[in-house]
């Protein structure tokens, strides 16, 4: 590859709001006072349920949507008010990939990748070399002359990525780019995005409803709920110490640690009158992730621990453990204090009788 090292651009959302006028004069706030800054060269994930406003937010970065209040800046340039040729110039600096790929069925792999270059008015010989480079980069060398309908979903998304990179953008937007792909293909596509981020240094802003995608590639994450960013920060911090209920519910799906059904069905929020067990989530972060704390709890304090579910995984390069345990109600407070004193985080989930 003779790729020029492009530097990513920063993205800033400054008190962005978007309201739609619905029939009957009722207005609906898709986004409400959103401020978020995305560092140049980072991979930032915006996670939210469908209808939370994440797609609207992403599409403001290349001016496909306009905010009704506030500003959106890419590399310090205001996108939200740009028009005509100025807007088209910004768009060439911002590549975008889509959930359903949005490839032209009537163009070959090479033809699809050439499209943004043709649109930008690049001369034919240059288009040819650039397209050949891009096809190699995304590993589709043998498929240059084939049509999208002949290729798999993962290969189609690779065309989409190559096409998005064609005009050497400073930012890459990913609109649920892996949501239509199977888990294995998702991994290869995410790995490709990671490589691109590392090699070209371009900023990647992605939206997803899958926490696994965020865990696998994002350095930063913002959680969006009903048009507001409820939590944002470094991915590791958000994963290990989620503050907001929405974040927790997204995490419960991905950490793979959920209560077994027989416990969940019996879970109550008030302590039973006599005895019973308290169900607690224990999170281990950083260096503590591998300490045998539960063994010490039993040995040093004499408190019996019942393990219900658990896993240790990696976020970035940091280990992160998540355990669900139950403790006798009378000793639970003491046990939790012990664990907290040793750098673990605990959270009471409920009681079983």
């Amino acid at each position: 590859m003779t790729e020029n090292k492009t530097r990513g651009a920063s993205i800033a959302f400054d008190t962005v709001g978007k309201s739609f006028n619905k029939a009957g004069g009722v207005s609906f706030n898709a986004l409400d006072n959103v401020s978020l800054s995305v560092a140049p060269g980072s991979i930032t994930g915006i996670i939210g349920r469908s209808g939370a406003g994440k797609s609207t937010l992403l599409r403001m970065v290349n001016g496909l949507e306009r905010p009704t209040s506030g500003r959106v800046l890419v590399a310090g340039q205001e996108v939200s008010t740009a028009k005509g040729a100025q807007l088209r110039a910004i768009r060439r600096d911002v590549g975008m990939i889509f959930q359903h790929f949005n490839l032209l069925s009537t163009r070959t792999v090479a033809g699809n990748i050439a499209l943004p270059l043709e649109i930008a008015g690049v001369k034919a010989p240059q288009i040819k070399t650039r397209v050949a480079d891009l096809i190699d980069r995304v590993g589709l060398t043998d498929h240059a002359g084939r049509y999208p309908a002949e290729l798999s979903g993962g290969q189609k998304q690779r065309i989409g990525i190559a096409r998005a990179l064609a005009t050497e953008p400073k930012v890459l937007l990913s609109d649920e780019a892996t949501s239509a792909l199977d888990p294995e293909t998702t991994q290869t596509v995410l790995a490709l995005l990671k490589d691109i981020n590392r090699d070209l240094g371009l900023t990647i802003l992605l939206i997803t409803h899958e926490m696994a995608v965020v865990r696998d590639i994002a350095s930063h994450v913002a959680v969006i709920e009903a048009g507001r960013i409820v939590e944002h920060g470094a991915t590791y911090d958000i994963f290990t110490a989620p503050q907001h209920a929405t974040t927790r519910s997204f995490l419960s799906g991905v950490t793979g640690v959920t209560l077994p059904a027989f416990v969940r069905d019996r879970l109550v929020q008030n302590a039973p009158a006599h005895g019973g067990e308290e169900v607690v989530r224990v999170t281990f972060t950083g260096t503590h992730a591998t300490d045998p704390m539960l063994a010490r709890l039993t040995k040093d304090m004499g408190i019996p621990v019942n393990i219900l579910a658990g896993a240790i995984e990696e976020i970035g390069t940091h280990p992160y453990g998540n355990l669900l345990i139950s403790l006798p109600v009378l000793q639970a407070a003491q046990a939790r204090a012990f664990l907290e004193n040793h750098g673990l985080t605990t959270e009471m989930l409920g009681y079983v009788g």
Binding site: F98, L104, S105
Partner: protein, 224 residues
């Protein structure tokens, strides 16, 4: 069958082909841009001109509501202005074209609207101008449907051309009426019908072949 009759049939076939070909050509030249405009000019679309869109839509609907035989007679003054005469094969091309333009326009509009909105969005995200989106994305992606639409338009033109005998348009339909029906020559009628069937079959299968050749949406081998 007499040589005279064969000559008549050949001549009539030639007249039909002439009328259909010329009016299909003019119909496409006018109907294609009109359809393209109708498909892209509603509020919030590429070349948003909602009022012009509405007015042209009304004109298209009005033209399409008039039965063809009435249109032929109703626009005689206009035909005379354009063709210099209101009688004959060339004159018949005028009403044929006027009837075809709105038909082709609607077919093209539908074909363009079938193009996945995601493709327009992708092109916009690349920084494409409306003209680039129309030429590089919409027209190319809609081409198979447009070709099928034009095929349909030509087939119905062949049908319409049978009615222009009313203004001396001649052609196969006219021959069938005058000889087959009015002179009680069922063999002429039969031959006319057979020629029309063959013509329509030819047009249809050529149209389908071209459409399939430019359509890359499905693999020929039935892959994914």
């Amino acid at each position: 069958m007499s040589a005279n009759l064969i000559n008549l049939l050949l001549e009539a076939t030639g007249q039909t082909l002439y009328m259909v070909a010329i009016s299909a050509l003019f119909g496409t030249l006018l109907g294609l841009p009109l359809g393209l405009f109708l498909a892209t000019s509603q509020r919030g679309e590429l070349v948003s001109m909602p009022w012009v869109n509405k007015i042209l839509g009304l004109v298209v609907n009005a033209t399409r509501s008039v039965p063809f035989i009435i249109l032929v007679v109703a626009i005689i003054p206009f035909t005379r202005m354009v063709a210099g005469t209101s009688i004959g094969t060339t004159a018949a091309i005028v009403p044929l074209t006027i009837a075809t333009v709105p038909f082709i326009a609607r077919l093209v509009e539908n074909a363009i609207r079938e193009v996945d909105a995601g493709l327009i969005e992708a092109a916009r995200a690349m920084g494409a101008t409306p003209v680039q989106i129309i030429t590089k994305v919409l027209l190319r992606e809609a081409l198979p449907s447009i070709i099928l639409g034009l095929t349909l338009a030509i087939v119905s033109l062949i049908g319409y051309s049978a009615m222009v005998g009313a203004v001396g348009g001649e052609g196969l339909g006219d021959l069938g009426i005058r000889y087959g029906y009015q002179r009680f020559m069922p063999d002429v009628m039969a031959i006319v019908v057979v020629i029309l069937i063959v013509l329509v079959q030819l047009v249809q299968s050529i149209g389908e072949r071209i459409a399939a050749a430019v359509d890359k949406r499905a693999t020929k081998s039935g892959g994914q």
